[in-house]
Symmetry: C2
Subunit: 340 residues, 2 copies
């Protein structure tokens, strides 16, 4: 049996924040980064949780993350903003951009913010709150460094570019969220398997020669994650390249530095956040449509599915479980962090 340790949510939050501060990160930034990491754990996305902390700390030490840098607005033209993250913690710029974007969308109906020269921002859904609070639909796009192989290729040449759609709801203070990467699986899930000493399912990974692999360690030995959905998936990924890469950051994913490979360099990844006010389109609430969508899909089953269909319910269930049982981490990770 693999050794694991469970933490209460608030205890873990304190540990993460304290660890960042011990490593020289100021309190405000540490709080922001911690919230994003803990949110991912609570929603059941360990791939974007505490497992990221060791690499963040290495990058702070080596200079890839400039721990005290302040973001700078390059321009604000109407409801278009360009924010320079200046190689700081990605979470700080992302939260600032999400807040501005949702504010401007309410004012003008629609807004977009490009974030340049950024680092890893974690789970995109972590920035849902400003959109939910204002009643703004948010489309959040990100490009990352090459980890994904396009259909027919054997090498990682594209990022596992990500899409997140935040649809504001009237209930429970949680929006309806879709959050997906364009690799068949998140790299973090492969790394999580590695941390837990597990093999991975077929189809998740190719090794450096382009052969199928079930060994998670092949990822960082020149391996690649296949793009999801074949050529249509490539089309989806290109949408992120154009919006988040070219517009958002004057770059594309092949030029982004992988955070584990170049510890001393900012990733220079980029994002584009688009906000559209529901009120500008005459909508007071969107819940009934979301319900209609779920009802329709459920109607397509021959037998009702055992598991909840939409990710929101899965995430809610996980967050309730976490409140009872705490967040479970691999022992080795906890040891590496000096928490035991």
């Amino acid at each position: 049996m693999e050794k694991v340790i469970s933490f209460r949510v608030n205890d873990l939050k304190l540990r993460v924040k304290e660890t960042l501060q011990i490593n020289g990160v100021n309190e405000e930034i540490a709080e922001c980064v911690t919230n994003v990491i803990i949110d991912a754990e609570v929603r059941g996305h360990a791939s974007h949780g505490v497992g990221l902390l060791p690499v963040y700390l290495k990058r702070v030490k080596e200079g890839g993350i400039k721990k005290d840098i302040t973001t700078e607005w390059i321009s604000k033209f109407g409801s278009i903003g360009i924010l320079d993250a200046k190689g700081g913690f990605g979470q700080v710029a992302a939260l600032e951009a999400a807040t501005w974007c949702s504010n401007m969308a309410i004012e003008n109906g629609i807004a977009a913010v490009g974030i340049r020269n950024n680092n890893h921002i974690g789970m995109l859904a972590a920035y849902r709150k400003p959109f939910q609070d204002k009643g703004v639909v948010g489309l959040l796009l990100n490009i990352s460094g090459p980890s994904v192989s396009a259909p027919g290729t054997i090498k990682a040449t594209l990022g596992s570019n990500t899409f997140c759609l935040v649809t504001p709801t009237s209930m429970e203070n949680e929006p309806f969220v879709v959050d997906l990467g364009t690799g068949v699986v998140a790299a973090g899930k492969i790394r999580n398997a590695l941390a837990h000493g597990e093999q991975i399912p077929k189809g998740w990974l190719k090794d450096k020669d382009g052969k199928e692999s079930i060994h998670p360690e092949d990822l960082d030995k020149g391996g690649s994650i296949p793009l999801f959905g074949q050529y249509k998936g490539l089309g989806v990924s290109i949408i992120a390249e154009v919006l988040a890469g070219m517009l958002g950051g004057k770059t594309i994913s092949p030029y982004v530095n992988k955070q584990r490979k170049y510890l001393n360099l900012p990733m220079n990844c980029s994002q584009l956040f688009i906000g559209i006010s529901k009120y500008a389109f005459g909508l007071e609430e969107m819940d009934s449509f979301i319900q209609g969508l779920e009802d329709a899909v459920l109607d397509g089953y021959s037998e009702p599915p055992k598991d909840p269909f939409f990710p929101n319910q899965v995430e809610l269930n996980h967050s309730l479980k976490v409140k009872e049982q705490g967040i479970v981490l691999p022992y080795q990770l906890v040891k590496d962090m000096g928490w035991v």
Copy 2:
């Protein structure tokens, strides 16, 4: 051998337009609809070509398409527009929306137009020109009536919702385009196989009982097209539901009338077009990034691919071929149209 007939592009254009006019469509609308149909044929997407004409004509006759209706702007607030298509030909509203959207994007940096109560608009990429001409990135989204089965389901409950991204280029007057539906295949491709008397590949279609089918006629007998990319594909489809459906049209795809099933009713499908000025993000040209993307992907092959990688090149090649050899149509279709 299947019987086919080849037409020169301009000859076919005249035939299509004339046929629409004979059926009572005024010249301006006939011209617009014809351009969209011919454009699809020239780019090699017969699924969105002349094969649509018979159903359009039936719908005009039965009242599903109101042939002479004039669109009406419900509101224009800043750079948000809502256009009521009023059940007319979808192409007319779509072209009007694309033109307004790209104009407002240049003025304000970003713009969006929702189109409500619309009918089939054909190939989304057909509306690329206003975006290309202005230097605006266009994200065009559409929801259609239920033809797609969600993962794990056996029934068509969602539209083959479509995404089109238009990236303006400096060269050749043609933008870089990504255009994809969320079914594993376009319904039009299955209908095209039917028109040519061919079977279809495995994986394209489920019959009314949810069983895999290679018989194209099963599509209109309660069959369904599987969603592409499993649950990630579902996430992509939901993005279209929220943006094109809820915001664009105060609806969702399960409520859209299928054009062949309800000949006497407007589809009431909807679209959302988003335009973002490249200049607002400080870009004079985007070609170098597109080239960088293609170079990177090509670098991932063990051997250079025989076929062109990006769809633009495939479409360009097809349009050159069409200039030489004409547009090839099934004999039966030509006969049904009374052109032989």
